[in-house]
Amino acid sequence: MTETTEPTDDEQLESEEAQSVQDNPKNLHGCPFTESHGQTVLHSQGDEYYALIETLKDEGYEVCVDLCGADYMGNDSRILPSTVSPERFELVVNLLDVEAARRVRIRVQISETSPHIASISDIHPGAEAMEREATDMFGLQFEGHPDPTPILLPDGWEGHPLRKDFSMGRIPVQFKAVDGR
């Protein structure tokens, strides 16, 4: 599928294409898609996400290479197709087709008020640990996850460290004169 939709090498054309994608997004598997540095990115809505991953698996993307969250609080520089309404959180899933040696990335918008999304761990068992990590770090809740326990954080930890409003917890260092000088 990337073959038919790839923009030409000409940079001028590429940027025009990016602009036109933004204005009237093309669809792929029913999802608006963009190109980012030569990589195919699909933008999915929360309710279509599970079905999309299933479709892509049938298409040959059988390895879930990576799954992580991202917090866009205070970032207005994000370029999204016009049909996608930006939300605070994004779930980013990287799928790999090992037969055809191609990748696809799916960005799902997740709202701050209800950070719930279907778990894909029954399609890709390998996503299990990564979803647990996203829960730890961003507080995304994966529905249908078989083991939603903390993975990197200790049990009972409060807060989600990779959220932008989670402070670094840095203690200011006070430089004092050394005694006796």
């Binding site: 290479v65 991202a70 890709h124 390998g126 326990t149 990197l152």
Partner: protein, 418 residues
């Protein structure tokens, strides 16, 4: 999809929180033949601080769960507070046995967002250093793998050979580990004088030493008995669990990013991908041993084909002006100062780059908001994902073999926990 049902239904994974596992471990129920034990986090064979919660029936492992996070220091959060030039100092501490690969994948991601081309020499230096690092990482594996299985002599030999490579790294980068050598825009410094001779002397001693390892381990009946047929995993399972690197290749599936999706100049060198047949612990050991030989082939070609030229990009956006210019130009001084204090700005966007580390696909997902620091930096750590295969490999095996299986996954806990 049906072929994967057994992955979910076999019940190899112990789904239980840390706290619950601890409580269950303390209770002894005489009627229940199963018991929960915690191995680690301080067990020497767990390569750092990996804790495995296992459900045992006698000596047989039923279900298990790796409990991780003991080394979690929030490095992805730290990365959001460091400039792109400071970034490699942070990521290099993730996989401390193969630090150059994390630096590489991070630098490739930054360069992809910046859309800067790096000079040929930088590419080849990166490739040379990474292959040497693959050798040192696999030598470390041979040392720890041997020690875990009772070939204690390997502990000394593996570390000794690894030290040869690290000595060269020290000469090039100034440090044995955590080099901060590969940086956005190229590498930190050119190769030192006499680097060819230094590498040739490593390449001269290693083949003979590797043959000694073959005598000590590969052909040895005790070694084979302890590793063959232990911790078997199939290609379907490995792919479904996202396992890459030697674990996937041990099942006979020749997937190596250097060949399948070439980066740097891997399409210009000759090497073979080493694959196994049975997906067992022995295959994973043999793959790593032979990958050292393949890496040596690549290193030899790097010595031959190393082009001349600058070792970092001439793009003034990321590279400070030359030292001589700073003495005569105020603007150059300001430019230099700006790059190292404020950092260079990276255009908004997001990208994912992946390289083949000694442990599998090492990826970097980078989001920039247009400022000098990343908005989000995520490292796809191969050890973290590969560790998910552990319960499936150990299921139904003996407790004593669990050590062999953990060792054969070769997890680096710094990378798992980040």
């Amino acid at each position: 999809m049906t072929k994967l049902d057994h992955l979910r239904n076999r019940d190899a994974v112990l789904r239980m929180s840390e706290t619950e596992a601890e409580e269950r471990a303390a209770v002894v129920d005489p009627d229940d033949e199963r018991m929960i034990i915690n191995m680690g986090p301080q067990h020497p064979s767990t390569h750092g601080v990996l804790r495995v919660t296992m459900e045992l029936q006698g000596e047989t492992v039923l279900r298990s769960k790796p409990v991780i996070g003991y080394l979690h220091t929030g490095m992805e959060k730290t990365a959001e507070d460091l400039t792109y030039l400071q970034g490699p100092t942070n990521v290099t501490r993730m996989d401390y046995a193969a630090p150059l690969f994390t630096e590489l994948t991070f630098s490739l991601a930054v360069e992809s967002l910046l859309e800067v081309e790096i000079p040929d020499r930088a590419t080849w230096i990166r490739m040379l250093m990474c292959e040497l690092n693959r050798m040192s990482s696999h030598l470390l594996f041979l040392a720890t793998n041997g020690m875990d299985l009772g070939a204690v002599g390997m502990m000394i030999y593996g570390w000794r050979e690894r030290e040869e490579v690290l000595r060269f790294f020290e000469k090039v980068t100034g440090l044995r580990m955590n080099h901060n050598y590969i940086r956005p825009g190229g590498v930190a410094a050119d190769l030192p004088d006499g680097w060819r001779e230094d590498i040739r002397s490593i390449l001269h001693v290693l083949p003979e030493r590797l043959e000694q390892f073959d005598v000590l381990m590969t052909g040895q009946p005790i070694w084979r008995e302890r590793t063959q047929g232990i911790g078997v995993i199939t290609t379907e399972e490995a792919l479904a669990l996202g396992a890459t690197g030697p674990i996937l290749r041990s099942t006979g599936y020749a997937w190596d990013l250097r060949r399948s999706m070439p980066y740097l100049a891997y399409d210009q060198v000759e090497f073979d991908i080493v694959v196994g047949t049975y997906g067992d612990t022995f295959d994973r050991y043999a793959i790593r041993l032979n990958e050292i030989r393949e890496s040596m082939r690549i290193v030899e070609q790097c010595i031959e084909l190393m082009p001349d030229g600058p070792y970092r990009t001439e793009d003034r956006k990321v590279t400070p002006p030359p030292r001589a210019r700073i003495d005569e130009s105020m603007e150059a001084l300001i430019h230099h100062f700006k790059i190292f204090t404020e950092g260079f700005k990276v255009p908004p966007g997001e990208t994912y780059t992946a390289v083949e580390s000694p442990r599998g696909e090492l990826g970097c997902y980078l989001v920039s908001d247009g400022g000098p620091k990343p908005q989000r930096m995520h490292i796809r750590a191969p050890s973290f994902v590969n560790l998910q295969t552990l319960p499936h490999m150990m299921h139904g095996g003996l407790l004593a073999d669990a050590i062999a299986v953990i060792s054969s996954i070769d997890p680096i806990m710094g990378e798992v926990d980040r």
